[in-house]
């Protein structure tokens, strides 16, 4: 059994010590108000005791935490009072991630996370191990898994057989860890385009913090920025239009600040992004301040998806993401960027090499579907007008009826939504595309399909339309919604439903037959 890095012992002890010391502090000050017998003075005695107990617990936790990489499992024993012993079968591991914050980089330690399918959380987290130990673990898990695959080839997906026939030789051969073959390297220009074109809200979450820390200074700055444009010189003494102008100008500057923060965040996240392949795994690393590196077994990949927003579509760039059933780093459940941003053609070429999928021509739903969206967005516009009317009853708003312009937007929005829908039934994959603001094209291998549904709401039934919902185990879809082909003719929807099922069955049979055949040869 290996121990974690000694520094993590110190960190845990300190952490628990502070927690243990603060509990008596709160408890005594609370109980002091309730019971006469409790006196505030006890804190001076109880808090140090709590601190010592906490430190002792933290130290004990460190000494009682052990991990070991066995031949086919990863074992962890932990717990001071109640012991927990876990064995994670290596072939069930989805991905292994290493992350390193700035302080951790300076101290030469890293956090290792081992993900399996199922559950909403990381299966095993080692905080912290030395950074060379982290890379060793990642590499060894990869090597041992590859060895197991070589022994039991039926657990492999056809695509890995195709792509890694050559790799297998060296993954099981003399060289235990061949240097990763570089597949993609994010260039400076691509990183800049990515930062500027992706509108990330992550930066905006910092704005309230800025207000809490330096609220007055921010307000003063906003006043001085709005003044030349006709804003008030002093917030206490201004007319209504001046306040209005101040509000508008402040919102615009706020949006600009949020955008810039978001761009900076994206820049720091994807700085020096590299994707490579070694053996049967994809490996990536990225990050400016906090470094991430991860390895994803190719046969654990559930779906690929191409994501692009309107700006990126206009300059013909796109990003490619990999979805697994595991839980990803920094909360991005099971979804890793394979190509953060590159020319669309390059992304498609990459996808083609990874899956053997040639970019097919997409079919759009019938124009009848567009009519539905016009109705839907018109209802939305009606709600906007009704809200504006309601507000105008309470406060006087000039030209509230101008909100009726929202109706003009409905057909445009409907058309854009319809235009960006599409699907294609390829040989090994079902392709589903949807979304205007963030258009996603999912490539779902048939053998990854879990369930297929045809859904028809009452409105769809009236028009003879139906939607096909294709569910996979990729955990990304929890948040993003399951890939759905919207509003097809019912006959088409049913045909795709049947086709998907048939191809899943065919894929299963061929994989099963192949596995049995090979296992006979091997045994």
């Amino acid at each position: 059994m290996n121990r974690l890095h000694p520094l993590s012992g110190a960190a845990t002890a300190l952490h628990r010590g502070v927690a243990g010391g603060s509990i008596p502090f709160f408890l005594v000050s609370m109980l002091d108000g309730v019971f006469d017998a409790v006196e505030v003075g006890w804190v001076f005695f109880l808090a140090p005791v709590g601190f010592v107990v906490g430190v002792a617990y933290g130290a004990a936790y460190y000494y009682r935490f052990g991990y070991e990489l066995a031949a086919d499992t990863f074992d962890i024993r932990s717990g001071v009072l109640s012991r927990r012993s876990r064995e994670i079968p290596l072939r069930r591991i989805q991905n292994v991630d290493i992350s390193q914050g700035i302080v951790q980089r300076l101290l030469g330690v890293a956090v290792v996370r081992i993900e399996t399918a199922g559950g909403g959380e990381t299966e095993a987290e080692l905080a912290f191990v030395a950074d060379d130990e982290a890379t060793r673990l990642q590499r060894e898990i990869r090597r041992l898994t590859a060895e197991q695959h070589a022994e039991a080839p039926d657990a492999r997906s056809p695509e890995t057989d195709a792509s890694s026939a050559a790799d297998r030789a060296d993954s099981t051969g003399a060289d235990p860890d061949p240097r990763p073959t570089l597949l993609f390297d994010l260039e400076g220009r691509e990183l800049l385009l990515l930062s500027l074109s992706s509108v990330s809200l992550s930066g905006a979450t910092l704005l309230p913090l800025v207000f809490v820390v330096a609220g007055d200074a921010v307000v003063d700055l906003l006043v001085s920025l709005a003044e030349p444009l006709g804003g008030p010189a002093d917030l206490d003494d201004a007319s209504a239009p001046q306040y209005g102008l101040f509000a508008v100008v402040s919102i615009l500057y706020g949006a600009l600040a949020a955008y810039l923060l978001g761009a900076a965040y994206t820049f720091a996240t994807y700085y020096d992004f590299r994707l490579g392949s070694t053996g049967d795994d994809l490996v990536y690393e990225r990050g400016l301040l906090q470094r991430y590196s991860g390895s994803i077994p190719v046969d654990k990949i559930q779906t690929f998806s191409i994501a692009e927003n309107p700006i990126q579509r206009a300059i013909e760039y796109a990003g490619l993401r990999i979805e697994t059933a595991g839980h990803g780093p920094d909360g991005s459940a099971g979804s890793q960027s394979a190509v953060p941003l590159a020319r669309r053609r390059r992304v498609e070429g990459f996808l083609e090499r990874a899956t053997g999928l040639e970019t097919p021509s997409f079919t759009r739903p019938p124009t009848l579907a567009r009519r539905r969206y016009v109705a839907r967005y018109s209802l939305l516009a009606a709600a906007v007008v009704a809200a504006a009317f309601g507000v105008s009853r309470v406060w006087t708003i000039p030209y509230w009826y101008a909100s009726a312009l929202a109706f003009a937007g409905a057909p445009i929005a409907a058309h854009l939504r319809w235009r960006n829908l599409g699907y294609a039934v390829a040989d090994d994959h079902l392709l589903v595309r949807a979304g205007f603001w963030r258009r996603r094209t999912h490539a779902i291998p048939y053998y990854r399909v879990q369930t297929v549904s045809t859904r028809r709401s009452i409105f769809q039934r009236r028009l003879g339309l139906g939607s096909v919902v294709v569910d996979t185990a990729s955990s990304r879809t929890f948040a993003r919604g399951t890939p759905t082909i919207h509003d097809l003719e019912v006959t088409d929807a049913r045909a795709i439903h049947e086709e998907t099922r048939a191809r899943l069955e065919a894929a299963r049979r061929s994989r099963g037959a192949e596995g049995r055949e090979l296992s006979v040869t091997f045994s």
Partner: protein, 154 residues
């Protein structure tokens, strides 16, 4: 297509009536303490209307429900407002439960719940089966799932 046991209608109708009654009581309370101008018949009216809609929904749901064991998948049809046809390939079945709630038990009914590794509709529930049918369905599904052996679902 195999229908559900007709007694499931009683479960759904009772449930709908209970919900309608609860909402009628809420309307009555609102009328008593918040809005005096509401006519006193409002609570009764709301209750009756909801009960009517609920009962109609329950009856339609029963006629629309159906399931079938096909060659390679469990196939289900259900829904009133949105009609859903779902295929659950046997190879994707992770495990199968039988369950029953208090009302179901009183009426001698139980449900079969089929779990997959999928993210949505990860559990598919077939309500309104006699305990015998539920058990036999559970066994059949288990056998079919083992037969089609998922070598690596996720």
């Amino acid at each position: 297509m195999e229908p559900l046991h007709p007694r499931i209608r009683i479960v759904w109708v009772v449930r709908a009536v209970l919900v309608a009654a609860a909402l009628a009581v809420a309307v009555a309370a609102a009328q008593r303490w918040l809005v005096d101008s509401l006519p006193s018949a409002a609570a009764v009216g709301v209750g009756l209307l909801l009960a009517l809609v609920g009962v109609a929904h329950a009856l339609l749901l029963f006629t629309n429900w159906g399931f079938e064991l096909q060659d390679d998948a469990l196939y289900l049809e259900r829904g009133v407002v949105t009609f859903v046809e779902t295929s659950v390939p046997f190879v994707r079945v992770q495990h199968v439960d039988t369950q029953f709630g208090p009302i179901e038990r009183a009426l001698g009914l139980s449900s079969v719940v089929v779990y997959t590794a999928g993210s949505r509709n990860a559990d598919v529930r077939i309500p309104g089966l006699t305990p015998d049918r539920a058990r036999s369905l559970q066994n059949t599904l288990r056998e079919l799932a083992v037969e089609s052996e998922a070598e690596d679902a996720v």
